[in-house]
């Protein structure tokens, strides 16, 4: 018996010099987009301060964590998710119209990432959040997957020991809490998954240690993301 292959060496694609990799995502953007986004964030912050001074809370990020995935009626390009999304009991998503209006010209994926970035600011996941995730994954049969099991175990260990969650662990929690709440509100799992996938960069919602532990369950894009490729 014999097995043969004449394959050429596998060479990862080289980055296009005209593009840069954004700090919040896998997507490669033109060099001017991150600059414009930073300006947008500054506008949003200034707007939040102004609103707070004016006695309105509608644009602020609450201490109990929060954010926004809202569609502004005036936004030049819209989100492709519902007007309001509750990520978790401890992750109440609050309107933040500045994000929608000031970055409306950005790709929707970048808008979602910005909204999520604002959401995570100051946020921490609790044992109750993990309980919600565990219950949801179990109810859907997703804990049969060893990678999901490994993620839940890692996060449980982190919460028990007080260790801050890694980026992959945070993204996993945000994704699963978003999906769980949408499904519990009656959305199909498939549609909820699509929306939840917009809360983090592609390939970033499993910790690299778990991806390495189960390499057959992930393709090379997942490895490249964490290798900075």
């Amino acid at each position: 018996m014999s097995t043969s292959s004449t394959s050429a060496p596998h060479t990862p694609a080289r980055p296009d010099s005209a593009l840069v990799k954004s700090f919040w995502g896998h997507q490669r953007l033109h060099f001017w987009q991150p600059v414009a986004l930073v300006l947008s964030v500054l506008f949003a912050v200034v707007g939040s301060i102004s609103s707070a001074a004016a006695g309105t809370a509608s644009h602020s990020v609450s201490p109990a964590i929060s954010s926004t995935m809202t569609r502004s009626a005036a936004a030049p390009c819209g989100y492709d998710q519902p007007a309001t999304v509750v990520v978790a009991p401890s992750l109440e998503l609050r309107p933040c119209a500045h994000v929608a209006t000031m970055t409306g010209w950005l790709p929707s994926s970048a808008q979602r990432r910005l909204a999520r970035f604002v959401a995570a600011e100051g946020g921490a996941f609790t044992a109750d959040d993990l309980g919600t995730v565990r219950e949801y994954l179990s109810s859907q049969g997703f804990l049969d997957d060893p990678a999901n099991n490994a993620m839940v175990d890692r996060i449980q260990s982190a919460i028990d020991s007080g260790r801050p969650l890694t980026e992959g662990e945070q993204n996993f929690m945000t994704h699963e809490l978003t999906e769980a709440n949408l499904v519990n509100d009656g959305m199909s799992q498939e549609a909820a998954h699509e929306i939840a996938s917009g809360t983090h960069p592609p390939f970033s919602n499993y910790d690299p240690a778990v991806i390495s532990q189960y390499p057959d369950l992930f393709n090379e894009n997942w490895f490249h993301y964490w290798e900075g490729g």
């Binding site: 018996m1 097995t3 292959s5 060479t11 997703f142 999901n148 390939f203 057959d216 393709n219 894009n221």
Partner: protein
């Protein structure tokens, strides 16, 4: 064209005679062969299988198709495309979700070959050629293509009719 959709546990499976949009540019062939163990001359048969399972943070997806034809020895050939990348054009029709990228990157081609090689000795003789494939740049994995190849082999070997493949699909998928 005959096709069948089957749900087994958390898995959704689509079986069809062929899917032309899953044809792809072949970069090379992976091949395996074995000395003749017995002669079993049979008419050619072709199938395409697509598998899908939601997993929460990601899904498990693969589309694989090929042909079993008469041959005097036992061989498996798997067409391989260029390596995986993010954001490839989804030109391969999916019956189970968003459309896929036509192609079989090396990591998936190798998984499919290994899976077919594990199964093939029961054929005795015959030529298996894999020349249809589609993948999702997030949700596909070597494991998914291992499963898809296993199911495809069983359908080819059983010469099931796509419209009547449900029992065979259930038997195979239940073992995953």
């Amino acid at each position: 064209m005959s096709e069948s959709l089957v749900k087994v546990g958390h898995w959704r499976i689509a079986v069809s005679d062929d899917e032309s949009s899953a044809a792809f540019q072949i970069a090379e062939w992976l091949t395996w062969s074995s000395p003749l163990s017995s002669i079993s001359l049979v008419p050619s048969v072709r199938f395409v299988v697509e598998i899908y399972r939601p997993l929460g943070g990601r899904n498990s997806r693969a589309l694989l198709g090929g042909e079993l034809s008469e041959a005097k020895d036992l061989s498996v050939r798997v067409a391989q495309s260029s390596p995986i990348g993010a954001g490839g054009e989804a030109s391969c029709r999916s019956r189970l979700g968003r459309d896929l990228v036509a192609g079989l990157p090396p990591e998936f081609a190798e998984a499919a070959l290994q899976s077919l090689v594990r199964c093939s000795p029961v054929l005795g003789s015959g030529a298996v050629v894999i020349d249809r494939a589609g993948y999702d740049d997030v949700d596909s994995s070597p494991s998914a293509f291992d499963h898809a190849a296993m199911l495809l082999f069983r359908l080819l070997h059983g010469r099931a009719v796509a419209s009547n493949a449900e029992a065979l699909v259930e038997e195979v998928v239940s073992s995953w």
